[in-house]
């Protein structure tokens, strides 16, 4: 190997000096929002849409003059990594976001298992964490830096299951299926208790492994219980569609529920006609007079990218950015701890229209759940229709 010449050393020195001469204030003016979402597998579209919504909100805020706090103006930048919906990848994403990218604000994390991995690292380094994950264990007084940006089982399931039971009063039995991970395991007890509270007998409650591509045997087992309702819980819509299709093939005709169902398109993609009639708890309808021109415009852009309508999961990533902006400006600080202390007391503009704040003291022991409308939707004649809405 040749020794470096004087000229080489000189060039390197000049380049290093130039790099150091970059205005440090300019670098500090960007607030990075880390996202840990699935960008591959059956929940990939949730992740892609979440990234899209974070970027949209950030763009809007940046173009409107940014965030003004502690005498400076900041811009948001969304940084996204694929957590593959599992804890192992979630841990890698957490390390990258917090230790390499030095992110102090997580704009959203999707999937209870990867979120738990992220939370463990974030809490140690005072990083503020927004999540759409359903796990109740993520919240509570012991997690003051964590906030939930979409409705979770405790908000969604009582109205969703209550509505379904009321509409199908002849149905008295249910069989449940959930993915065998933290999301499924934390959703199942809430759903089970809610069905039992509504007088429905739970015949079976099974789990399946994420990544499964063959659902016939699973469907055969659930159908063998002959339940009047089949609830596939927190199963992503692509898997749910395949399960309902297999059930349909076996001749099972009953009430279909997908608690995390986010839209008709993906469900129909894998389920075909079997998607008809499925009740969902995370879908949003973009037809009708109540939808604003802006909501429709953003949804049209998302449809071009994703091939399906936006849903409550993805909208959560938009709302979190506005919540952070409001909290930073209210606290007059971009220090994560101060922002976290301010969040429970603010109201901020939401994608759903109007302003919302946080609640959850009774359920979680801490104010860290966004107060969002609960939307019950159903696939009717191939389209998603909103059948019930509650504004808490």
């Amino acid at each position: 190997m040749k020794a470096p010449t004087t000229l080489t050393i000189g060039v390197v020195a000049v380049m290093s000096a130039s790099a150091c001469a970059v205005d440090p204030a300019a670098a500090q003016d960007v607030i990075k929002l880390g996202l840990s979402v699935p960008l591959s597998g059956s929940a990939a579209n949730w992740g892609k849409g979440s990234e899209f919504m974070c970027q949209k909100a950030a763009e809007e805020i940046n173009q409107a003059g940014g965030i003004k706090a502690s005498g400076k103006t900041y811009n948001f930048e969304c940084i996204t990594y694929d957590n593959k919906y599992n804890a192992a990848e979630g841990t890698k994403v957490a390390q990258t976001l917090i230790n390499r990218d030095a992110v102090k604000f997580i704009g959203g994390a999707l999937g209870t298992a990867p979120t738990k991995a992220l939370q463990a690292i974030a809490e140690r380094q005072d990083v503020l964490l927004f999540t759409v994950s359903w796990g109740k264990s993520l919240k509570g007084p012991e997690h003051p830096m964590t906030f939930t940006q979409q409705n979770t089982p405790y908000e969604i399931l009582p109205p969703l299951i209550g509505y379904v039971v009321k509409q199908h009063s002849q149905a008295k039995t249910v069989a449940m299926l959930n993915p065998n991970d933290a999301t499924g395991q934390e959703t199942e007890p809430v759903a089970k208790a809610t069905y039992e509270k509504n007088g429905i007998k739970v015949f079976a409650s099974d789990y399946y492994e994420r990544g499964t591509t063959e659902f016939q045997a699973i469907a055969a087992r659930i159908a063998s219980f002959k339940p009047e309702i089949i609830d596939v819980g927190s199963t992503p819509p692509a898997d749910a569609g395949a399960i309902f299709k297999a059930l349909d093939l076996m001749g099972w005709k009953g009430v279909k529920v997908n608690e995390t169902g986010t839209g008709a398109d993906t469900l129909k993609e894998t389920g075909g006609d079997a998607a008809e009639g499925v009740y969902m708890g995370s879908g949003v309808v973009f037809d009708g007079d109540t939808v604003s021109a802006y909501q429709r415009k953003l949804n049209d852009e998302a449809r071009k990218l994703l091939g399906e309508d936006l849903n409550t999961i993805q909208i959560g990533f938009y709302d979190a950015v506005y919540a952070l902006k409001t909290a930073m400006e209210t606290a007059n600080s971009v220090e994560a701890k101060k922002v976290a202390e301010t969040l429970p007391d603010i109201t901020f503009p939401t994608f759903y229209g109007g302003k919302v704040g946080f609640f959850g003291k009774e359920t979680y022991g801490n104010v860290q759940q966004m107060r969002l409308p609960i939307l019950v939707t159903q696939v009717q004649k191939g389209k998603l229709v909103q059948v019930h809405r509650i504004d808490p």
């Binding site: 597998g41 492994e209 016939q216 045997a217 569609g241 894998t270």
Partner: protein, 291 residues
């Protein structure tokens, strides 16, 4: 009775794909002594190409079956092109080097996973139903499409079995897998045979991919699930054994189906792995393994 027939039909359908997939794995190991982890990516490439090409071709006005008949060869060709590149620039230099090929194989999996994600995106793709209709027998119902898959897969497996036993190419492949040095001494061109064996194995993976595409959820990670099951089949059947792979493919599919029905699909997965341990304790070389 209805349940038994339904479960049997399900096991046959799953087993048919396992057989096709694992035949390729076992063939490559037999001929080249390579544990080919990239097999899953070849399978995924074929399935993803069909998932992408079919809707585009169908949009031009062709009925789904005709569109599939065009898309399927495209998928197979794409997978074979990838295989030729993998062999030419990779495995050719690591034949019968189990450690070297193992490391290369793992590296290629990582690279190709990234490439497939980049090219096809991470979201799942659904191939429209190609053959519509259902067949009912003894109260059980299966789609005509599944039935065709089973028949084609079993025909291919039988064809491969007959080819290996009764054709010159088959005899050459077997000779190389038994003792490649002795085969070379009698004038068998090992390099060409190894390449031929690798291509046949890749063709089987590609065919499995294009056959499963209309019946499954296709995503860039589809190969991983089948790869694990494929290895279980190969190990239980006996490394390098074609009849063993066929037998074990059906066996694993039956255990999985019965496990998912009588227990829970999570327990079915555990049961399958427990089964591998049990089989290896009793028969360390698998059902029909040599030695």
């Amino acid at each position: 009775m209805q349940t038994a027939v339904q479960l049997m039909a399900t096991a046959l359908q799953i087993g048919a794909v396992y057989i096709l997939f694992s035949l390729g794995l076992t063939l490559v190991f037999g001929v080249m002594r390579i544990v080919n982890f990239v097999h899953g990516q070849v399978f995924a490439t074929a399935a993803l190409t069909v998932a992408y090409a079919l809707p585009t071709i169908a949009a031009a006005g062709l009925p789904p079956l005709a569109a599939y008949c065009v898309a399927a060869p495209v998928g197979v060709i794409a997978a074979l092109v990838l295989s030729v590149a993998i062999y030419t620039f990779g495995f050719r230099y690591f034949q019968r080097d189990e450690i070297g090929s193992f490391i290369l194989s793992i590296g290629l999996v990582l690279v190709l996973d990234g490439v497939l994600l980049k090219v096809f995106g991470g979201a799942v793709h659904r191939v429209p139903e190609v053959i519509t209709g259902v067949v009912s027998s003894f109260g059980a119902t299966v789609t005509l499409q599944s039935l065709v898959l089973c028949v084609v897969a079993l025909l291919l497996a039988t064809g491969l079995y007959l080819m290996l036993g009764h054709t010159k190419l088959g005899k050459v492949l077997r000779a190389v897998s038994i003792d490649h040095e002795a085969a070379m001494m009698v004038g068998i061109p090992y390099g060409k045979v190894a390449f031929g064996g690798f291509l046949i194995a890749s063709l089987l993976a590609a065919l499995a991919g294009v056959l499963i595409a209309p019946m499954s959820i296709v995503s860039p990670v589809i190969g991983t699930d089948y790869l694990i099951k494929g290895f279980i089949v190969v190990i239980i059947g006996g490394l390098g054994s074609i009849p063993g792979a066929i037998l074990a493919g059906l066996f694993v599919a039956t255990v999985e189906t019965l496990g998912a029905f009588y227990l829970d699909s999570s327990y079915a997965t555990i049961a399958t792995f427990a089964l591998v341990i049990a089989v290896l304790l009793v028969r360390p070389k698998g059902f029909l393994g040599r030695g």
